[in-house]
């Protein structure tokens, strides 16, 4: 073998290309990605579905009817149980476009709400993930790189947030903010806005990401290429952006699906406790809460969004595992406390 062929063979693809190839070979990971994309696309079609079915999923329509085999059936049926006084929403018709999953106790089409709810849940989980990762990266980089007093102050704040049970912190913030909204400087979030759950969920998981990032930066700070850059007098912001950030980016990418999974579960829990997404908006968690009173008579109202959450979170977790194996097989990122 000549030196030339060895040299051409050694030309490796970049780390990103290698990772993409590894991920593409991971059948479970690809299936998970596909499942997630399918769920996302179906949810994006929510407005199309609602207008096609001719339903408004956000206002109560107690007197609506649904046509099945040419017969108009009222959405709210006279109750046959007990004294027969109350009204029961109809159960699933299993016909797309005409109350596929039945109605909830305000006569709204559960299927249409499920799709819109998915959109909300995915939006909140995604935006909160972005918020967490951005803030956690800034904090982790600052604490790890500058050290000294900055590190001590930031680490202590992270310690306090870390020790605070996630759900209780989220609940405390929600109770206070949900009724009044919040105004910090130029940013005003009104009560009932979707930004509130995004803000709350985005805040509570910061230490989960910031602490590992800080640890990584601490060791990178002592590595030769960073010491060399410091010795050459390269300004700090340039070192952070050019040398350190690219090295923690794999960790950040692995965190994306895992955080999204965690955020979906947190959002659903908060909405279930009625301190997350506020009506008339729907999310998978708030639909489960709507269905709680109908659990024994119309179980699909609560079951369907739960199944959707399980599928979505499962896909994200499998994708996260696949990404970790593809990008950074030795890392030990794990989420799941609380």
């Amino acid at each position: 073998m000549t030196a030339e062929t060895i040299a051409t063979r050694r030309v490796s693809r970049g780390p990103w290309a290698t990772a993409v190839r590894r991920l593409a070979r991971d059948r479970a990971g690809m299936a998970a990605l596909l499942l997630f994309m399918v769920i996302l696309i179906i949810c994006l079609l929510a407005p199309v579905y609602a207008s096609w079915a001719g339903v408004d999923p956000f206002t109560s329509t107690l007197d609506a009817t649904v046509t099945i085999d040419g017969n108009a059936i009222p959405v709210m049926e006279q109750s046959t149980e007990g004294l027969g006084l109350g009204y029961n929403p109809i159960g699933p018709t299993w016909r797309l476009g005409s109350y596929f999953l039945g109605a909830d106790n305000q006569g709204r089409d559960v299927m249409a709400r499920l799709l819109y709810g998915g959109l909300t849940s995915l939006l909140i989980a995604g935006a909160a993930t972005l918020l967490t990762l951005t803030l956690a990266t800034v904090l982790g980089l600052a604490a790890g790189f500058f050290g000294g007093l900055t590190d001590i102050i930031l680490s202590r704040i992270l310690d306090i947030l870390w020790a605070f049970p996630v759900y209780l912190l989220a609940i405390s913030l929600s109770i206070v903010l949900i009724t009044h909204g919040i105004a910090i400087g130029p940013i005003t979030i009104e009560s009932g806005s979707l930004w509130l759950p995004i803000f709350i969920i985005g805040i509570v998981y910061i230490p989960y990401v910031a602490r590992p990032i800080r640890g990584q930066v601490l060791s990178l700070r002592e590595s030769e290429f960073v010491l060399a850059a410091i010795g050459l007098g390269v300004p700090s912001h340039r070192i952070l952006l050019r040398d350190i950030l690219p090295n923690v980016s794999t960790t950040l990418i692995v965190f994306v699906p895992l955080m999204m999974a965690l955020n979906m579960l947190t959002e659903s829990a908060l909405s279930f406790l009625s301190i997350g997404v506020q009506p008339p908006d729907a999310s998978w968690g708030s639909i489960i809460q709507d269905g709680q009173g109908l659990l024994y008579s119309r179980p699909w109202v609560a079951m369907a969004p739960g199944i959707a959450i399980v599928l979505c979170v499962l896909a994200l977790n499998v994708l996260g595992d696949g990404l970790r194996d593809a990008l950074d097989p030795r890392s030990k990122i794990r989420l799941g406390r609380g």
């Binding site: 605070f164 049970p165 759900y167 959450i309």
Partner: protein, 323 residues
């Protein structure tokens, strides 16, 4: 080592102080969150608001309010509810602790046993269909919202299959005291235990499998194999021992978090009057003193559990001990 322990203790006290201030600030000093307007109700006149502020001591500076509240929670224990002013909060919280402990301890026993079983079996049969099946089941367990799983359990055991031989033994939702009715206590808790444990069984099974497989790559395992030890013995006596250190750490943290209120959703779904349910009920009428106290209690429990884990770690690990 003593220094390390003292340092940890100091850190713990610092975090507790920080949390108590944070909780106080969230509830009483967030811009726009005026507790007086909450007590007085919507659209109360300024005079009424002023009277409420005076009567509840909300007209004093924040630091005075903070110290008064801390004194009432930790020293005199006579903090009263905003909604029902004769109701003492601290005893109410203490009353709920046995319920939460009953729920969490039972679930913990289940998840440790089954988590270990799954982890060991999967690691022993790694790469086989059994391993894959167990890991997928574990992942599904991790991906289920616990409150929804609780509803599925209720739907099956209280309604759909309640009249069949499978679930006819399930008593109605609610908690029974262990001392009054041990059998009722056990029966009402079986389904909540399983529900709460499933997530952790999946999590611990997966973590243990990963750490066992990592341990099996170590040099001392090769030595043990070279000595001719059986594969079972290597797995259970050599690999499992090192893996259990991380398992114990994890357990301490999760147990602390659950007793400290993370079991809230399970308690709400199964109507168990524990710390979490008390918080949830206080949430419905925004009874701040109760929420303050439970959140404070919960976070302190978590902080103490974390500190305990670290101390056990210092005591167990010779490398940490030396430094």
């Amino acid at each position: 080592m003593l220094l390390a322990l003292l340092q940890r203790l100091g850190q713990m006290l610092f975090v507790m102080l920080g949390i108590s201030m944070l909780v106080f600030l969230i509830f009483f000093a967030t811009p726009g969150a005026d507790p007086a307007s909450r007590i007085a109700g919507r659209g109360a006149s300024p005079e009424i608001l002023e009277a409420v502020r005076k009567s509840f001591g909300l007209d004093q500076p924040f630091y005075v309010q903070y110290f008064v509240m801390m004194k009432k929670i930790f020293i005199t224990g006579d903090l009263t509810s905003f909604v029902n002013r004769g109701w003492k909060v601290v005893p109410a919280v203490l009353d709920t602790i046995p319920v939460t402990l009953s729920l969490v301890i039972g679930a913990a026993i289940l998840w440790v046993i089954f988590g270990m079983l799954i982890g060991i079996v999967a690691a022993a049969t790694r790469g086989s269909w059994l391993d894959k099946l167990l890991m997928i089941l574990g992942l599904i367990g991790i991906s289920m919202p616990v409150f929804w799983l609780g509803e599925v359990m209720n739907l099956v055991s209280q309604s759909r299959f309640h009249d069949t031989w499978m679930f006819s033994w399930v008593p109605p939702l609610g908690y029974k005291n262990l001392s009054d009715d041990p059998k009722g206590w056990f029966l009402t808790l079986i389904i909540p235990w399983i529900t709460l444990a499933i997530l952790y069984i999946g999590l611990y099974g997966r973590v243990l499998r990963a750490s066992l497989i990592e341990a099996l790559q170590e040099d001392y395992i090769r030595t043990a194999r070279a000595k001719g030890l059986s594969e079972t013995r290597i797995l259970l006596r050599h690999a499992l021992r090192t893996s259990l250190i991380s398992f114990v750490t994890l357990f301490g943290l999760d147990f602390g978090a659950l007793v400290g209120g993370s079991a809230l959703l399970t308690e709400v779904v199964f109507n168990l009057q524990g710390v979490g349910k008390l918080t949830y009920d206080a949430l419905q009428n925004l009874d701040l003193p109760i929420i303050m106290t439970t959140v404070m209690y919960a976070s302190f429990f978590v902080v103490m559990a974390n500190a305990l884990v670290d101390v056990v770690y210092i005591l167990l690990d010779p490398r940490v001990r030396a430094s």
